[in-house]
Each structure stands twice: as structure tokens, then as C-alpha cells.
């Protein structure tokens, strides 16, 4: 039996795993078993453990639904087609659409699950092979608010500016809007010490699996009204200031702008915060005092507070609080955001974002353009300007945008107002989806191009701590399956694109490293060869350095070295009378599924544990609506209607219901969410949607 050291294909924790192959692999005795086994591998983030998604991930490799040959739509059917023919036709159609409607008529939609090499190459492909500015990715739905807030506060966006194992010694951890127990379970190993010290504080409108970790004296759970996190954080900041719990010396020497923050929170005295959030003043005070307790405090944010139209400001409030307490850059304390997707961190650094070039540089910066253009071998003037963010890009489909290439994303499930997205996809002249399964989005495609899975490819991923990791090939992909690097190279050649289009990940990485040199996310000192020594590669890792496990010890990444505290205001706190039959819908995740579920719904053990979307609802609310446990429920608003089985739970507020967003068809939670976005980050509102709920007729559910 041979083993290959790699990492899990799913979330940003990127747990280490060992891929076992060989004739003596016990499981291969049964025909349908995967050609690779998953073994434990020790690593600081997961310490040998995996969650059930990781343990079962090998089943994806020879899953029955795997696409193993290019598919072309003929009428309402897909027919297999050869690679040459598919690529020739796609290139022809892309060229003619560009000629007829302008280059921006071709859009590219990437994903936070792509390796650094693919994400980099995709950005380059859009800019110089297609010549389009219209590229963005699903990280817009994931990390954009935290990224925007981090950039303006620290001048850099590395989700956790410290190794995750630093959390082990913390006295107090405030987890705002993150359900790690379901989304990246092995992470909770790093909360154990804090729980033993009774110091875990979880803010979530649901009594989530993570909130329940505060039981038995483990800490404290605050259950605010959905969408009031900003006010909650302003209120805690108010107490920290008024009760003089802040670090005056740190604030004076390491930050700018705190006077403005002080004035901006003056109006959020505890009673007023209680009125808006429903969190009692006593709890607010307790949180403030615990955070200021001084023996190692971390504040961590997640999608719960970020996926809102005021997500950037909410994260900013969390950062301001961290800065006032003097946490950032101090050993044993800090602020971080928990990146979601597998390569959500690296995916946002190397050019998939509408306004960015590799190395986390602005596409509007002439110096960055010149440098990257030189690496790519083109004239800087050939590079397009900034495009538009994901939700707006999807809103242009069928209008300004006539063709779309989708990589590592399932927008029909994951984008807001998903019904409208599906309708717009149908109006495209050309939709090409690269995937290993015929996802709900691929089902709309003109071409589905089958690509390699993690165990079949080489590359790098950057985990939630900003550590660059190697993904390694353990087995050969099925015949007929290609890597996206190869697909881009082939298309680039057919489009007569300038530049070099390597198909080996190591070579693409070397190019990425050069293109990132001197940027914020500088990878220039790294290579596959170096990473293969298992070096601890935290970026920035400029050539000649040994990387940066911990940021901000001396200075922040702004020119004056100081962190910027930006005063933020809540603009939607006024009590709003709602129709009495309306409830607030919060969407989120389950332990068993990852993202749109395109992969995990195909794993028997995961599917049978969570085969459908259940509607979490308080028993008293359900009783009022005439809904009993297990009844079919219809959840609706102006945009759509979703059917889900009622799961009664006192772990949710009586004015709130919860749906997981991992499911498709009539269970697509995002059919209800609205395509409104944060003005700074363009993050959509996923966690505060008004809906009506009723008991559905079983016939409707089947329909």
C-alpha cells in the first residue's frame, strides 16, 4: 500500500489526510469501492482527525454520477463529444460572441475551491485570453465582507493572522456568527482549552451545535435577533469604552481613528442595544468584561455576521472592538475571520476577483498592471479594468453578458435569488461548466467539461491561517477527464492568446510566485519543491524570507504602520413593524454537507444522514401555524417558494426559521434570498429574509 500526503477536498481548515493506494488496499476488494483510501495524518490544524465529510470524501472519485467525457447539449439532452470538437466549438463561439457583442460579453465565474494555480490561471485567462473584465467568483458570497473590512483596518486580508493552534491557550474566545461545530468540526479541538476555562462565547440567533459547546459551564451563548450583530458589537464596544476596559496605550500608539469610533458608539448604551438585539444588558456587560479579562482573548467572525448588506461594517465593528482591547498583533490574542471554502483564502489573492490582479493587488494600480503584464508577456494596456462583483455579474447574464464559463461553482444553488439566476442562465448564448458532476448549474450548460478531483491532481491550497499547503496526486484521473489548467491552455491556444500556458501545476505556481512578488499576498519565496519539504509556509513569503506565521507584531500593513479604526453606524435598527405572520429566514450549513451539496449529496453516508432540507422552527411558532414535527412546510415570499420538512426545535428564536442551503430543486433555500448587496463588499444578504411559512399539502411537495 502506498500513501500520498495531501489535504481534504472540502473546507478551509484543509485537514491533512493520507491517500492510500495499491493493490492491497482492503476496500478495493469490493468492486464499487473507491480506488483510494483515506487515512489519518498528523498536522497542527486537525491533529490526525477528520470529520465525516473528510472520511467519506474518496467516494466522490468513482461516484456513479461522475462526468467522464465532455458533454454537449442537443435539445434537452446531453450527448458525449470528443475534447477536440468541444474545445474547437467553444473557442469559435467565444470568439464570435466577443466580436459581435464586445469582449465583456463573455463572463467567467470562478470558485473558492479551485487551487491557487487554477484560480491564478483563470484570472489570467479572462484578462488576456478572453480580454474580458467580467470575472468574479463565489468567494464574493463567502469572504468578501471580512476581506473588505480587513483591508481597510489592517491594510491586508489574511483571515487568521496567526496559526490556528494559537487558539489552544486562549482564556476567552468570542465566536460571532460561526457554526464551526458543523462547518469545520475538527476546529473545535482548538476551542477545548477555552471551554475548560469556561471562556467560549458564541453569538448566534440559533442554539447551533457550536452554541451548545457553551453548555455545561463552557461559556456563554448570546442569541440576538437576526441581522442585529452590528448593534450588538457597537454596544459591547460602548461598554468597553465607558467602563474603561480598553487598552489606552495600544490605542494611542498602534491605531488611528479611535476618537471617531468612541463618538460613534456613544449612542449605543446597553439598554438601547438590548431593545434592538434582544440580548440582555447583563449579558452584554459580562461579554465586555470577559473580553477585557486580559489572559488571552480572541475575537473570531464568520458568515453569520458577514453575509449581510451591512457585513463589512459589522466586521469592522468586530475589528474596532479587537483593536480597542489591544488584541491584534499581541501574542496569545487576536482577531480573525474563519474562511469557509477550501481555498477561500488563496482564491481571493490571485486574480479571480473582479478588481484584482495576482498578489492581492488592485487592477487599477498602474504599477501592479505593469508588473503583472510583464510576467504575462503582454502590454499593460491590454489588461482590462475592473469588472463587476458576482451578484451584479449574474444579473447581467442574458443581457450584456452572452456567454459564461463556470469553474468550481454551482450558482443555481449558491447565489441569492437563485430562481432568477436559473432563468438568466437559460438566456445565455453559451454556458460552459467545468465540473466533475452534472451539478444543478451544469444541467443548464451547453457544454459540461469533466475535470480532475483533488486526489487526481497537483497543486496548492492556502488554508484559513494563510498557510500554503500541497495537494498531491495519488491516482490517475479517469480517461476523458482533464485538468482545468489543460483546458485553459487548449482554449488559449485556439483563441490565439499571448503568453505561456503551462499545464503543470508546479510551473504555473512558479509563474504565480513571480506575478505576486512585491504584492500584499507575496508568494515569491515559495515553490512546490520547497512546499514538499513540509515547511510552514505562511504568506507573505517574499523571496529570501521564511514566511510570516504571525502578522502585526510590529506594524500593520498601512504606510504609517497603524491600524485604522473606521467608525461605522447601524442604518437599519429602527423597530420595523412586520406583518404578524412573517418570520425571518436564516440560511446556513449542516455538518453532513459542503457548499451547494453537489459533492456531499452524492456520498451515501452523508446523504442518508441528511437527505433533504429540513426547516428548523420553534415548536410554539409551529403550533401557531398548525405545523407538527415532520410535516411538510412551504416557505415563501415574493421571489419564490421552497418546500421543506418541519424540524421542531427550541434552539431557534420564535421569530426565526432556518434552512440549510445545500439542496436543489424545490428545496433551494436561495430561491427566497434577495439579490441585494453590501455597498462596500458586494456581499449579498443571506441571513435576514422575510418569509411566510405554512403547512404544505404533501401533493405540493412532490410536485
Amino acid at each position: 500500500m502506498a500513501t500520498t500526503a495531501s489535504h481534504c477536498p472540502y473546507c478551509a481548515l484543509q485537514c491533512a489526510m493520507s491517500l492510500q493506494t495499491g493493490a492491497d488496499l482492503p476496500e478495493q476488494q469490493v468492486d464499487h469501492r473507491p480506488p483510494v483510501g483515506i487515512g489519518s495524518r498528523d498536522f497542527p490544524t486537525n491533529r490526525g482527525g477528520l470529520c465525516k465529510k473528510g472520511w467519506t470524501s474518496a467516494e466522490l472519485i468513482n461516484s456513479a454520477g461522475r462526468v467522464t467525457t465532455p458533454l454537449r447539449r442537443v435539445g434537452s439532452e446531453f450527448v458525449p463529444v470528443g475534447w477536440e470538437q468541444a474545445l474547437d466549438d467553444i473557442a469559435d463561439r467565444l470568439r464570435s460572441i466577443g466580436e459581435r457583442h464586445g469582449k465583456d460579453a463573455v463572463g467567467v465565474f470562478g470558485g473558492g475551491g479551485l487551487t491557487n494555480e487554477k484560480a491564478y490561471q483563470l484570472g489570467k485567462f479572462a484578462r488576456i485570453a478572453l480580454g474580458t473584465s467580467m470575472i468574479d467568483y463565489n468567494g464574493r458570497f463567502c469572504m468578501s465582507s471580512a476581506a473588505a473590512a480587513g483591508n481597510r483596518a489592517f491594510g491586508i486580508d489574511r483571515g487568521m493572522p496567526f496559526p490556528v493552534s494559537d487558539l489552544d491557550g486562549a482564556q476567552t474566545i468570542l465566536l460571532v456568527g460561526s457554526n464551526v461545530a458543523a462547518t469545520m468540526p475538527p476546529f473545535i479541538g482548538h476551542l477545548e482549552g477555552t471551554r475548560e476555562r469556561n471562556g467560549l462565547i458564541v453569538v448566534d440567533p440559533r442554539r447551533s451545535e457550536t452554541a451548545r459547546l457553551t453548555d455545561d459551564g463552557g461559556g456563554l451563548h448570546l442569541q440576538p435577533v437576526p441581522g442585529t450583530d452590528l448593534v450588538l458589537l457597537l454596544g459591547i464596544t460602548h461598554i468597553v469604552l465607558n467602563e474603561k476596559l480598553y487598552d489606552e496605550h495600544y490605542v494611542q500608539t498602534r491605531t488611528v481613528g479611535w476618537e471617531g469610533v468612541r463618538r460613534s458608539v456613544a449612542q449605543w448604551w446597553p439598554q438601547r442595544v438590548q431593545e434592538v438585539t434582544g440580548a440582555p444588558t447583563g449579558q452584554l456587560r459580562e461579554v465586555a468584561h470577559r473580553l477585557a479579562g486580559g489572559r488571552g482573548t480572541y475575537i473570531l467572525t464568520g458568515r453569520g455576521i458577514e453575509q449581510h448588506v451591512d457585513g463589512t461594517d459589522t466586521v469592522t465593528a468586530a475589528i474596532n472592538l479587537s483593536l480597542l482591547l489591544g488584541l491584534c498583533g499581541r501574542p496569545g490574542s487576536g482577531y480573525g475571520t474563519l474562511t469557509g471554502q477550501g481555498n477561500g483564502q488563496g482564491g481571493r489573492e490571485h486574480g479571480q476577483k473582479a478588481d484584482q490582479l495576482p498578489g492581492y493587488r488592485k487592477i487599477t494600480d498602474p504599477q501592479a498592471r505593469a508588473q503583472v503584464a510583464a510576467v504575462w508577456g503582454v502590454d499593460p494596456d491590454r489588461l482590462p479594468g475592473p469588472g463587476v462583483p458576482a451578484t451584479e455579474l449574474l444579473g447581467r447574464l442574458g443581457e450584456q453578458i452572452k456567454a459564461l464559463l463556470v469553474h468550481g461553482s454551482n450558482v443555481v444553488i449558491s447565489a441569492p435569488d437563485a430562481g432568477a439566476v436559473a432563468r438568466r442562465l437559460a438566456q445565455l448564448d453559451l454556458l460552459v461548466v467545468c465540473d466533475f458532476f452534472c451539478s444543478e448549474t451544469a444541467a443548464h450548460a451547453d457544454y459540461v467539461l469533466p475535470v480532475t478531483q483533488w486526489a487526481e491532481e497537483e497543486g496548492t491550497m492556502t488554508n484559513l491561517e494563510g498557510r500554503v499547503l500541497r495537494r498531491r496526486r495519488a491516482i490517475e484521473p479517469p480517461q476523458g477527464v482533464r485538468s482545468e489548467l489543460w483546458i485553459m491552455a487548449e482554449l488559449a491556444q485556439r483563441l490565439a492568446a499571448p503568453g505561456v500556458w503551462d499545464t503543470e501545476a508546479a510551473a504555473v505556481f512558479d509563474e504565480l510566485a513571480r506575478a505576486s512578488a512585491g504584492g500584499i499576498a507575496d508568494y515569491s519565496g515559495l515553490s512546490h519543491e520547497l512546499l514538499d519539504t513540509e515547511v510552514e509556509a505562511y504568506w507573505p513569503y517574499p523571496s529570501g524570507s521564511a514566511g510570516t506565521p504571525r502578522l502585526f507584531a510590529e506594524r500593520f500593513a498601512h504606510p504609517d504602520g497603524r491600524a485604522v479604526m473606521v467608525p461605522v453606524r447601524s442604518r437599519r435598527h429602527a423597530p420595523r413593524p412586520v406583518a404578524t405572520d412573517e418570520l425571518t429566514l436564516v440560511t446556513g450549513r449542516l455538518l453532513e454537507h459542503y457548499q451547494s451539496g453537489a459533492q456531499t449529496r452524492r456520498v451515501e453516508e452523508l446523504r442518508s444522514a441528511r437527505p433533504q432540507a429540513d426547516l428548523q422552527i420553534d415548536p410554539a411558532t409551529a403550533q401557531r401555524l398548525g405545523i407538527a414535527e415532520g410535516d411538510p412546510g412551504a416557505i415563501s415570499n415574493l421571489r419564490g417558494e421552497v418546500f421543506a420538512r418541519a424540524e421542531l426545535s427550541t434552539g431557534i428564536r420564535i421569530d426565526t426559521v432556518f434552512l440549510p442551503f445545500h439542496f436543489g430543486g424545490r428545496q433551494t433555500a436561495n430561491a427566497l434570498t434577495e439579490a441585494v448587496v453590501d455597498p462596500i463588499s458586494a456581499m449579498p444578504e443571506f441571513k435576514r429574509t422575510q418569509v411566510s411559512v405554512r403547512r404544505a399539502d404533501p401533493v405540493e411537495v412532490q410536485g
Binding site: 468540526p185 475538527p186 434582544g278 449579558q283 421569530d655
Partner: protein, 526 residues
Amino acid sequence: MRVVLVGYGPVGARFVEEVLPAVETGRIDLTVVGAEPEQAYNRVLVSEFAANKVDRRALDIIDAEAVAATGVRVLTGTAVTAIDRTARRLTLGDGQSLGYDRLVLATGARAHVPALAGLSQVEASTDPAVPADDRQVRGLPAGIVGLRDLADAEVVARAVSDRRRILVLGGGVLGTEAALAMADQGAEVVLIHSGPVPMARNLDHGGGQALARAARRAGVIMLGDFRATGVICEPVPGEGARFGALLGEDGERIPGDLLVLSAGVRARVGLAAAAGLPTAAGILVDPSLRSWADRSIFAIGDCAHVATGRVGAGAESVPGGPRGLIGPGWRQAEFVAAQLVAEAGRAGGPVLPETEERPPVVMLKADGVDVLAAGRVMADPWDSGSHALGCSGGVEVSQWVDPARGAYVKLVTVDDVLEGFVCVGMPRVGAELTVLYNGQAELPTDRSVLLRLDAPALTTGGAVDRFAPEAVVCWCNGVVVKSIMDGVAAGDDSVECVGRRTRAGTGCGGCRGRIAELIGRQATVG
């Protein structure tokens, strides 16, 4: 467009903030005139400042430098003495004059000075720099203050730190808050109110009882059913008369070092009234906050009395009055700012706010004494009639009384939506009721569900059975007690065996101890 704001309290400050963008682009030329020598500060926290619980900086509410840099002229320590509505000019205390196109009055309210023997002879201040509305308060003898502004607060703060005996006259929200804050800082405080319970305007009898008991427990000396009739002031060499004691109708004499008047407030309407604007409990404005008599003048906050204007109606008979709360005042400031910004940009104005705002939630600001109330609370559980017959649409009253633990809750609903509530001593319940009341959400049929929010089982998990069959042991792999026990019964005798069969313990590893515990338990049982 020249806009002048008179009054620079928290409502005025909010107005300034909202119009700043239009000032920046030059569409609005803004002048602010404030009578106090300070930049705007957060009056809501004045009683906490008075009790030395927060410092002066905590009261700052506006970025004065940013406001000035934008080009707003701020005249502090300046009174407006007259409005010439025809010429659209103001006369200032220093004799200067100031023209306007639109005038916004945010003059607020002053402490009401009750009719007490010994105070009626006090001469009003004659200082022209003091607005007419404030001359009576400013002329009070030493040792008697209202508690409205920083000058008052500083007097009270000194008395608190000098451990003086302080009498608070008036058991409303502000008086009760001030007394509790001072007691919390170690002062000897007597709270004197005329009815049987404090906060009688907001609370029913049960709620008032619960509050009185909580206040006593917090160290406040509660003196109810006391009708104050006069004050005794003693001459002090060098500083004139100084407060010595409060007198009751039966001749009782309550000695004290400081008397804090908290017997209500009166809108500052003097300036408006002198200019011929109609006033009642405040400056009369229509729902768009424009004066009944002059379309170029607005009033917001504590000085504004919103009512639909009727020609010929006697101003004295207009029902309602200023709310006296900051939330509605801020919403008015935002609304008028939006109107003026739109007018200056020749755009359409904002949509009129709901005229029928619900009575706001009143919340006592005090550590450890949780009191919340809103709306109709006087109904009796047994009087309300229709619910007993099971008819829909009736008033329903539910009540929970637990004096030993200081808890009291009353819910008054119509069609299952809260019309009013009182909540004492149950912080989480009170916070939740506030949200439900403001959102007009339908309550669960079983109201007692709401009462359990403060239960220890929900907050600490103390009552959760860790060995219940469905209790989760391994979060990473979603494994419950039952799955593990099934395996153990079938012979899994180590954590590793359990892990191989169920995956429990193969994630973060945090549950391995508990798995061992479960195996041991089975061994004991078996």
C-alpha cells in the same frame, strides 16, 4: 439654502450628522446655535455621569472637528432671544442677528419646577444669556437642581463623591434611574414619590411593587405616598440660601444635602410662543414636523408636539405631547434632515413616517434592576372578558408573579399581539418581549414558553442529560450516545473500536474522554 438649527442636544446632533453630506456639497448652509457652552453631548447618559459611573468623554456624541471642517458654523453658549418670522431672522443673545430660509427648533425640555412653598419666592434669573425657558431653573437656590444638563450633573456628581444625603423628588423613569445610579455609587439616596409605587405612569401596581422592592434591595430609601409641599432653605454665609429639608403635607421634614427635582419636564416653547407659533405641550407641528403656522419652521425632539393641525382649534386642547424619549426624537431628526436635503436638491421628499407610532418601550437604565414596560398595562387578568369565552379578538392578560425572586411579568395582548407588557427581574424575557412588541409579532399560544428564557437550563445547560440516547457525543461526525452504546453493547470495548465502527472520536478528538466514560458506564451497568 440657509438652515439654522436652534438647540444642540442629541437630537440636534443627529440632525447635523444627517445633513452633513448636503453641507459638504454646498447645497445647504448650516448654522447651529446652542445655549450650552458645550458641543452636543449624550443627554441620555447624564444621570450616569452625575453618579460618576461614566466620565465626561463617554458623553461625546458628535465629531466636532469633522462638523467644523465640513463648513457648519456652530455657536455654542449662545441663546436665541427672538424669531422674526416675516424677515426670517433670529436675534441672538449677544445682539447679533442671523437669517434663515429654514429654521429647525430642537430646543428640548427643561426640568419642571413643582409648586413648593419656599420656591415660589425664588427670583428667576435675569441673565440675558440664559434662554427665557430656563430662567426659573437657573434661579433655584443652592442645593436644588433639575437633572437635565451637564451643569446639573456636575453638582450632583460632587454630592455623590462627597457622600452627601440626596433626595430625589419624583418617581418617574428618570428619577428612579438617577436614584439607583447614585445608590450604586454608594450615595445615601431617598427616592420620594407621590403615589403608592414608583414609575406609576408606566407600570401597573404589581410591576411597581416589584420595582420598589428591587430598588430597596439596591440600597435606595423608598418614600412613597409622600406629597411634598415645601422646602426649607437655610442661609449659608457667603452663598445665600441653601437647601436643608423637604416638607410633606402632614408636616414631615425630610432632611437632605441636595434635592434633585425629577418631577417631569416642560418643553422649551418660550421662543416659539413669543414668535406667535402655536404651542400646547410643545411646539405644535404636523406629522411632517412643520409648524402649524409657518411652513419654514420645523420642530423636533422634546420640544415638538406632533398633531394634525386643525384651523381654529384651541392649542390647549390638543391631545398628546412630546414623547420625551430619544428614539422617536432621532427618527424625527432623520426625517426632517431628509426633507431639507431633498428640498435643497429640488428632489422629492421622503415619505411621511407612520403617524400612529406605537407607545415606545420604557426601559430603566440600572445595573441589576431590570424593568421594562410598554403600552397598555393596566388591564386586569379577570376583567378582560372575551377570552374566557374563547372568542377571538379580545384582550388577553397573562401574569407571572414571583416576589421571592423579584420577578413579575404581565402580558396584555389583542389577537395574540402585544399591546403592552411589564417585565421586572427577568432580563432575557424582557429583552425578548421588547423585540416581540416592537415587531408586533404574534405570541405563542402557550405564553409560558416566553417565561422560560431566563431558565438556567437554557442558559447554562445544567439540566441537559449528557447521557440521553440522542445527546451528541462526537460533533465532528455527528455521533450520538445511542450509536456508541449500541456498539459497546455489541462488544466495542475501547475508544479505538468505537471510532472504527462509528467514527466517533476521529475528528478533533475532544470527545474521546466521554467515549471512554460511556464505555466505563456500560461496564458498570453490565
